[in-house]
Structures are given as structure tokens and as C-alpha cells.
């Protein structure tokens, strides 16, 4: 009779949980699950081709010299638990029918797969965007390199027509372009050249604020900051010769400096693996975060197609539900249909003030106190200095709590209605 050593039996029955992407979502899932899954039963592996983990909300502040490079990047491995195998390699393709993932030079098999490959800008989707003016008079701030190049440009820019432009939805952090416009107003005021700068905000949607409560509560901001707005603008191309953006109805908007949010798309590995929609986002159950096509594939963060904001705060709440659901799935129980699209975001409005919004799939942002119904101290949907310091403090929370999967005290995964005041009557 052959003798099997105990640890060999374990090896034979050891199962594999594979996480693709070590960004905000992937890192959080590695931390959550390592604490919950038995180490002698589950091997957890995380794959990401990049060494650096960026604090992406910080990209908004880089162009205005509010944050330094050092404040927004750290070595990603630092945030991965030591009992999780970290592989820094490029992912070539997922083979869902065979439960395997091909990396550049090795193949990984999985029992459960979590896709957290995020989203990124695809400027090549817009004709003329990568023309001669790219990185000269046309910039993005959704990449580290783009935000730095824009910072260098702004340091010496003497004024003119600044156009802040969204190509198409969905985009990561949908409110960032608006915050950029507010911070630009503040930046040029402090520089003493606001009178030489004309700021126009261009959106494919029907307003800067698209939810009735927000339109009512916040429309004053654009007027106060003298920001012009062009709505329903679906860009067809950039005219590099006349320095204009052109839409499908031949509407032209001239610029001296164009800060654009290019089309956002999921990773190309999703397209290659046949898992995505036409923007490479993966069809995902809105409330369980299980992929609609494969029951052992789960999707989190920007990689999903769920109609929640593509933002770290959403991923943070989603990670709590997904952790529970992975455990339920492993044990053969039905999944919780719990995730409600909860988002909780600070919105910089310039002049050291910020708003805080709290909303989900179905409930619009409202007034109220947060997180404590009576005391706040944060105010929802109203500008305050306190909210601004909340946003500044969030960088510390991100690196020290959020990535490590530590729950933020008093903030629940689902949207709470305590302390919310439904007092905003939308204008007709």
C-alpha cells in the first residue's frame, strides 16, 4: 500500500483562486480572501504586469501641483499579503471553457477566477486625437504620464481657451472632469491669470449634472466659477489644423488647450478572450458580481459593465459583497444579490472646498449628514471645507486601510438612508 504523506494529500486537493489585476479591486480581494480562505485548501495567486500601484484619484491633483509624484505611487507588491503568490507578468488570454489563463510564458489553472483588470483610456478611438497636437496642446489626466505632462504644460501656460472634454460614457470617476474644471478655475485665479483663461466644459450628456437633484443643488457652481458648458456633444474628430473638436453634427468648438477624457475601455485581454462587450467590459450580474457567462468567473471594479460609477469607492463596497459571494459559491450556497451600486465620493469644487455624495444604482445623491445621521460631520451634496479635508485624508485611508481590505468605520457596504434628507425638488 503506497504511503501518502499528509502534506501531499493537501497538495492534491489544493484549489486555486486566481485574481487578474492588482489594482484597487484586485488588491482588496487578495487581502479579503487571504483572511477568509484556509491556507491549506486554497492557493491564491494574483497577476499584474506592472510593478507600480498608482493612487488614481491623485491624478486629478497632479496637474495643479497639489500632489507630488511620490504621493500617488507605491510598489504594488507591498499591498499583497505574503501568503498570496504575486506574479508580475503580462496576461495573454483567458480560456474560460478550460479554466485556464495564459500568461506571457506560463499557464495558470483556476477553480475560481476574479477578473479585476480595470479600464483605461483609448485615445486611438477618436480620429485625430493622437495627431500632432497630442501632448503638445491636447492632454489627458487619466494616466500618470498624461497628468504629469499636463502639469508641465500648465506651469508655463499663459492662457487662452481651455476646453475640458468627455468623449463618451462610461468613464472612470465620471465626476473627475468637472472637478478638474473647478480646480482649473481656482488654479488660474491663484496664478492671477483667470481673466486670460476661458474655460468650457464639453459633455456628451445633456448637462454637467444629469441627475435632477444634483442639477438643482449644484448648477450654481458653474456660474460662480464662470465655466461655460456645451452639452450633447458626441465627438467625431479633432481638427489639428484649426484646433477644434468636431461632433457628428459638424458642431465645432475651438481650443488652445484641450484636456480630454478619451474613450475608456476594458483591457484588450478581455476582448481577446471573448468575454467583453463592445467596450471590453464584462457582462456581470449587477447584484452578485458573478459573470453572466461563466459561473466560476467573478468580476469587480472598472472591468464590469454594471451601471455603477467606475470608482475605487464602488469597488471597495463591491469587494465586501464579492468576498461573501466567493465563500458562498465555494461552499455551494446561493449567492447574495446584495450589491446596490453604492458609491461615496468627494467632489473637489476648488478653493479648498468639496462636496460629498452618497448614492446607489437607484437613489440619487441627496442632502444630509454623513456618516452619522445627527452629527455628520460631513455634509452631503453641500460644499464644505471639512469635505475637502475628508478628500485629502482619503489618500492615507486608501494606502493604509482600503487596499488592505480594512472596513472603513461606520460606512456600510449598502447605501444607508439614515441622516439623508429628501428635500430637493428638481426643477422642471
Amino acid at each position: 500500500m503506497p504511503i501518502i504523506e499528509p502534506n501531499k494529500t493537501k497538495l492534491l486537493t489544493m484549489k486555486n483562486l486566481l485574481i487578474l489585476g492588482a489594482g484597487t479591486s484586485g488588491t482588496m480581494m487578495a487581502n479579503h480572501l487571504r483572511h477568509k480562505l484556509y491556507k491549506d485548501q486554497w492557493k491564491i495567486t494574483i497577476v499584474d504586469q506592472y510593478k507600480t500601484h498608482y493612487y488614481q484619484p491623485g491624478f486629478l491633483f497632479l496637474p495643479f501641483d497639489i500632489y507630488t509624484e511620490k504621493q500617488v505611487k507605491k510598489v504594488g507588491k507591498k499591498f499583497i499579503p505574503k501568503d498570496v503568490v504575486y506574479i508580475q507578468k503580462k496576461i495573454e488570454q483567458i480560456f474560460p471553457e478550460e479554466n485556464k489563463v495564459q500568461l506571457e510564458d506560463e499557464t495558470l489553472y483556476y477553480d475560481v477566477l476574479i477578473v479585476a483588470t480595470g479600464s483605461k483610456i483609448a485615445p486611438e478611438e477618436t480620429s485625430g486625437l493622437l495627431g500632432p497636437l497630442w501632448k503638445k496642446d491636447i492632454f489627458d489626466f487619466y494616466t500618470y504620464e498624461g497628468a504629469l505632462a499636463l502639469r508641465d504644460k500648465l506651469r508655463n501656460w499663459e492662457g487662452g481657451k481651455l476646453v475640458v472634454h468627455i468623449t463618451e460614457m462610461p468613464i472612470k470617476c465620471p465626476v473627475a472632469p468637472l472637478e478638474f474644471s473647478f480646480l482649473a478655475d481656482d488654479y488660474f485665479r491663484k496664478k492671477g491669470i483667470r481673466d486670460k483663461v476661458d474655460i468650457t466644459y464639453v459633455t456628451p450628456l445633456s448637462g454637467a449634472f444629469t441627475k435632477p437633484t444634483c442639477t438643482t443643488a449644484l448648477n450654481y457652481l458653474l456660474k460662480e466659477k464662470d465655466i461655460k458648458i456645451e452639452i450633447d456633444f458626441a465627438i467625431e474628430s479633432v481638427d489639428n489644423e484649426t484646433k477644434e473638436i468636431v461632433d457628428f453634427a459638424d458642431r465645432r468648438i475651438p481650443f488652445d488647450l484641450l484636456v480630454t477624457i478619451p474613450t475608456n475601455m476594458g483591457d484588450e485581454v478581455i476582448a481577446k478572450s471573448g468575454l467583453g462587450d463592445d467596450l471590453n467590459f464584462i457582462p456581470t450580474h449587477h447584484n452578485t458580481l458573478q459573470s453572466l457567462a461563466h459561473e466560476n468567473i467573478f468580476v469587480i471594479g472598472d472591468a464590469t459593465n454594471v451601471p455603477a460609477s467606475k470608482a475605487g469607492s464602488v469597488a471597495h463596497f463591491a469587494a465586501e459583497t464579492l468576498t461573501d459571494n466567493i465563500l458562498l459559491y465555494i461552499d455551494g450556497y446561493p449567492l447574495k444579490k446584495e450589491f446596490d451600486g453604492h458609491a461615496n465620493c468627494f467632489i473637489e469644487t476648488g478653493n479648498n472646498k468639496a462636496l460629498l455624495i452618497d448614492f446607489n444604482y437607484v437613489t440619487e445623491p441627496v442632502h444630509g449628514n454623513f456618516p452619522f445621521a445627527k452629527f455628520g460631520p460631513l455634509k452631503l451634496l453641500k460644499e464644505s471645507v471639512f469635505n475637502h479635508w475628508g478628500k485629502m485624508a482619503f489618500r492615507w485611508i486608501y494606502w493604509n486601510m482600503l487596499l488592505k481590505g480594512i472596513a472603513i468605520p461606520f460606512v456600510s457596504r449598502n447605501m444607508s438612508f439614515k441622516g439623508k434628507v429628501f428635500d430637493i425638488k428638481p426643477e422642471k
Partner: protein, 103 residues
């Protein structure tokens, strides 16, 4: 929320005039809403509207890009059918929720 009679049927509308419940929609209602916006609906319009409704029922995201790739119209043609706000007006006429951002 407001109740309004469109094409002889009582429907619930949002403050911005979008149908609250896409199941209350009919081609007659579509024609009435379109008329208010100033659009005379043709069979091509209805192809787009039905496409938008199908995508909404399938819980897929609606984008101008998606309509452009639908094989029904390209984006230029969509602009001709629904001038000055293709997605805004087509979704209103299709009886589906308004496309929004987070605020």
C-alpha cells in the same frame, strides 16, 4: 413624478418627461412624444427605438457608439434622425430611462 395622458393612455413621467415604466410604452406614445420634440417618426426611427429598448431590457449599457455599431444606423445617421441630442431624445421617445452620469 407626474401623470399625463399621452395618446389616450395614462402614463407616469419623470420630472424631465421620461417614462417611469418602459412597459407603458407603445408606438403611439412614441409618436406623441416625438411630435412634442419636433420629430416625425419613420420606420428607421422605430428600428433604432426598438434596438434601444431591447438593449435596456437586456440591461446593457446604452452608448452612441453602441448604436453606431448596431448595424441599423451609423452615428451620423443617428444625428440626422434625432438632431441635437441623439441619445437624449431617442431614449425619451423609446420610453427608457435617461442616460445619466453619477451626479
Amino acid at each position: 413624478m407626474a401623470v399625463k395622458t399621452i395618446a389616450g393612455v395614462q402614463v407616469n413621467l419623470t420630472e424631465e418627461g421620461y417614462l417611469e415604466d418602459m412597459n407603458q410604452w407603445s408606438e403611439e406614445i412614441a409618436k406623441e412624444i416625438a411630435k412634442e420634440i419636433g420629430i416625425e417618426l419613420t420606420p428607421k426611427h422605430f428600428e433604432v427605438l426598438n434596438y434601444l429598448r431591447e438593449k435596456t431590457i437586456a440591461k446593457e449599457n446604452l452608448t452612441i457608439r453602441g448604436v453606431g455599431k448596431s448595424g441599423i444606423v451609423d452615428i451620423k445617421e443617428l444625428y440626422v434622425l434625432f438632431p441635437k441630442g441623439p441619445l437624449k431624445f431617442s431614449s425619451k421617445i423609446a420610453g427608457i430611462p435617461k442616460p445619466t452620469s453619477c451626479i
